[in-house]
Every structure is written in structure tokens, then in C-alpha cells.
Symmetry: C2
Subunit: 219 residues, 2 copies
DNA sequence: ACAAAAGTGTTGCTGTTACACCCATGG
DNA sequence: CCATGGGTGTAACAGCAACACTTTTGT
């Protein structure tokens, strides 16, 4: 099959979530050779009667047990030697989900959440792909491109929680008071009326994003 | 070749430039069936020993006669019926160039620049692809994502010229005085010391982008 | 009462918006 | 001298940055 116009294409899915202020990614432990025992991105080869989006949805459902997700196309990888078995074009997609929901649906030991800067031993070129795509995700979170921040916080959250995540992605601290005021004064968030009560300290107010004000907004 | 894991992949190149305040795209007139006489995006099928980037560079050089360009990956198109000859996966790339340079190198009649909202009759699904990718480009220009604005103005320009383009992309007018001050006060542009002298009216000052200040800057 | 975490107020600075007038050139 | 297009000043407002203290909970 050398030097032809037939190509093997795979879709790679990078499933991200915000968890305790950290940006995490959901990986799968490989059960067969090659790279048996290594962690990898969930992926699926694309056949010629399936669209990329359909292929990605299959991976997503398979990996999380969930139906719906917010998916964004990211970069492609076409180096000739990225897979030992021959040239495979990798097309990466970003899914943003809720770690909690995923945990409820999945209890296998061959899938796990990892912080993006504490990755395990990865097979193929997946470490490099994760780093490249993670930079893309961070950039999109920070500029709220594609309303990425909204995708990470679909339901209730406290402002310190949001700030923690944001600081983690941004790589530097932000003044707590200014952060709070920004979101409340500009009505980017709505008070749900509920409070958290985890551990010691004053309980935090639970907010939801005010989608109308957040959509297209530059944060 | 039905229902196999072998896919035909093509790269599609969307070459954009800023010209007289308008966002334009460079298209090619098709000389053979199918869609003979229609305009199309320059494209090339990908063989299995070439990377996507290499393939795009070949198209770019072929189309413009130029060697270097700023290329960004954009969206992919994998609908089963997007090409009458069978399923072809289209991967689109954005090149930003200088219309003037292109004109110098090319004088054939089968290539032409079109305003993105005055497109000619297009073959395949290329009209739809252009619209989708153009939205992406506009969004990137407006948020200066990937330093897109910089890519459009590599050399000298006047502020009214820049503003014209920006307004065209944004779809609404901006106050001329505020626009001027913004770029000058924040030192996003550097006075080259030269002036334009086209037609009547006071000559405009020619500026260059101050790349250090522009890089990563949100406009 | 104390530790831990969340909430709040003020001030100065920076950038944005909204406004009208003057300047340099070609005809 | 006038039409065309480019450049400039000012004042009100909004958002951002930098600062310390108070409130609510668990132990």
C-alpha cells in the first residue's frame, strides 16, 4: 500500500474536564500490543462510510457512557512515522465534559483522569498530541474562544472554584476580590441561591453562568 | 472500495488577503469536468508518503508562485456525498498572503481574487466550505487569535486602511479617532516615517505593526 | 477562640466611547 | 478655494489592578 492515495485515518478524542481547579484529561490503558500497559488517547479508525463527527461520538459514548458532549475539532497529525504500523493520519477532537457524570457511568480500572501536567507513560505520539492540543484548549479557555469556559462549567460552581481552575490554566494567580467583582458586577454569573458546605470555612455561593452575557464575551 | 478503512483525503487551501479594506480569497477556475468552468478552491489529494503541511505548501506554491506563507489549519469536511466521485475527506487550511505579491508572480486568467461576500459560482461543496472557514477567519481576525491580524498586514499600511479592513470584517463602523488613538497610544504600530500619496486628500502616515506589542494581544 | 475559606469597599490607572475641529494634499 | 481624506483633544464612563478587613462556617 505504499505511495498510493489511500490513507488510514483515525480520530483521536481528548476528553477534558475541570476537577478541583485542575484541567484533567481522560485516558485509557492499552490492553494489547503495541504499547500494552501504556496509557493512550481513546481513538478509532475511520471507515469510508462514517463522518468524523460520528466517529468521535462513538468514541465518546464508548469512553464515558454519556450521549451528549461539546466537541471541537482541533489539530491534525500526519507525520509518516507517528504509528509503528504505518502511516496513519490522526485527527484530534476536544470534548469537554463533567468528571462527576463520567465517574457515575464508568467504574472500570482501565480508564482514568489525569492532570494535564502529570501525565502517565503514553503510547504512540500521544504525549506530544496531548501537549499540543492542551495548549490549544488553554488558549481557548483564556480567551473564551468558542465559549470554552462555559463548556467546562455547565452547572453550578463557586467563584473560588472557577478562579482556581482559571489560575491553573493561566499559570498565574489572580486577585480574588477583583475576580469576584468582575463576574458578579458584569452579571456573567447568576446566584442560584444555594451554598456549598464542604469542610471548614465559610460556605461559598453557588453560581451558574449567565449564558446570554457569556456567549461571545471576551474574558 | 466500499466500507473499508482506506480513505481518500484532500487538502483544501483557502488563500486570503486584505485588499482595499476587503477580505478576499484566491480561487481557481476549473478546466475539466466535473464542474468545468466553475470556480473552486485549490486542492490536492494526499498520498500516503506526504504530510498535510507538505501537501498544503505544494498547493500554495502552485497557486501563488510564492514560497513562504503563514498557514493555519482550519476545519475538516467528511460528509459522504461532498464529492460526486465518492467519499473524500477534505481538510481545509488557511493561508494569509499579500495580494500584491501574488499578482506580480501570477498573470494567468484561471486564477482570481474574490471578495468573500461576492463569490462566483463554485463547484463541489466549496461555497459552503468557504463560508464556514471565512467565519473562522473573521473570528480570528477580530479576536486576534493566532495573531491573525498581523498575518494580514506584514508590511506598511495606513491606519485608515487597517480600519477599513477591520470594519469590513467586523461588519460595523468604528470611530476613526478612537481607532487611531488606540493603535498609536498603545504603541501597537510604529511610524515608518513614510507617507502615502494616492489621489486627493491628505497623505496618510505609513505604519508597521509593533510585533512585540501585538503578539498575543487582544484587539 | 481560632483556623479556614468566602465575601466586600476604595482608589488610582488604563482603555473605551462619544463627541467636533483642524491640517495636508489634488484639482 | 474647495473637496477629499488624514490627524488631533477632551470629558465621561467602564473595567482592571492593587491594596486590608470582615463574615461565616467547622473544630
Amino acid at each position: 500500500m505504499e505511495n498510493s492515495y489511500y490513507n488510514i485515518v483515525e480520530t483521536l478524542l481528548l476528553i477534558y474536564a475541570a476537577d478541583e481547579g485542575k484541567l484533567k484529561i481522560y485516558l485509557k490503558k492499552k490492553q494489547e500490543e503495541p504499547y500494552k500497559g501504556y496509557w493512550t488517547l481513546p481513538s478509532a479508525p475511520l471507515d469510508n462510510v462514517t463522518t468524523l463527527e460520528e466517529n468521535v461520538n462513538i468514541i465518546y459514548k464508548n469512553m464515558t457512557g454519556l450521549e451528549e458532549s461539546t466537541v471541537f475539532e482541533s489539530k491534525s497529525f500526519s507525520n509518516l512515522d507517528r504509528d509503528p504500523s504505518g502511516r496513519i493520519i490522526g485527527m484530534s477532537f476536544i470534548a469537554v465534559t463533567d468528571k462527576g457524570l463520567t465517574d457515575m457511568k464508568q467504574s472500570t480500572s482501565d480508564k482514568e483522569w489525569f492532570e494535564v501536567d502529570e501525565l502517565p507513560k503514553l503510547g504512540f505520539d500521544h504525549a506530544s498530541i496531548i501537549n499540543t492540543v492542551t495548549e490549544d484548549v488553554k488558549k481557548k479557555i483564556i480567551s473564551n474562544y468558542d465559549d470554552m469556559l462555559l463548556a467546562f462549567f455547565p452547572s453550578d460552581f463557586t467563584l473560588p472554584e472557577l478562579q482556581n481552575f482559571y489560575e491553573n490554566v493561566l499559570g498565574k494567580p489572580i486577585d480574588r476580590r477583583n475576580f469576584h467583582k468582575k463576574f458578579v458586577n458584569q452579571e456573567l454569573v447568576i446566584d442560584t441561591g444555594f451554598k456549598t458546605s464542604k469542610g471548614s470555612g465559610r460556605p461559598g455561593t453557588l453560581y451558574r453562568f449567565n449564558e446570554d452575557k457569556m456567549k461571545g464575551k471576551r474574558i
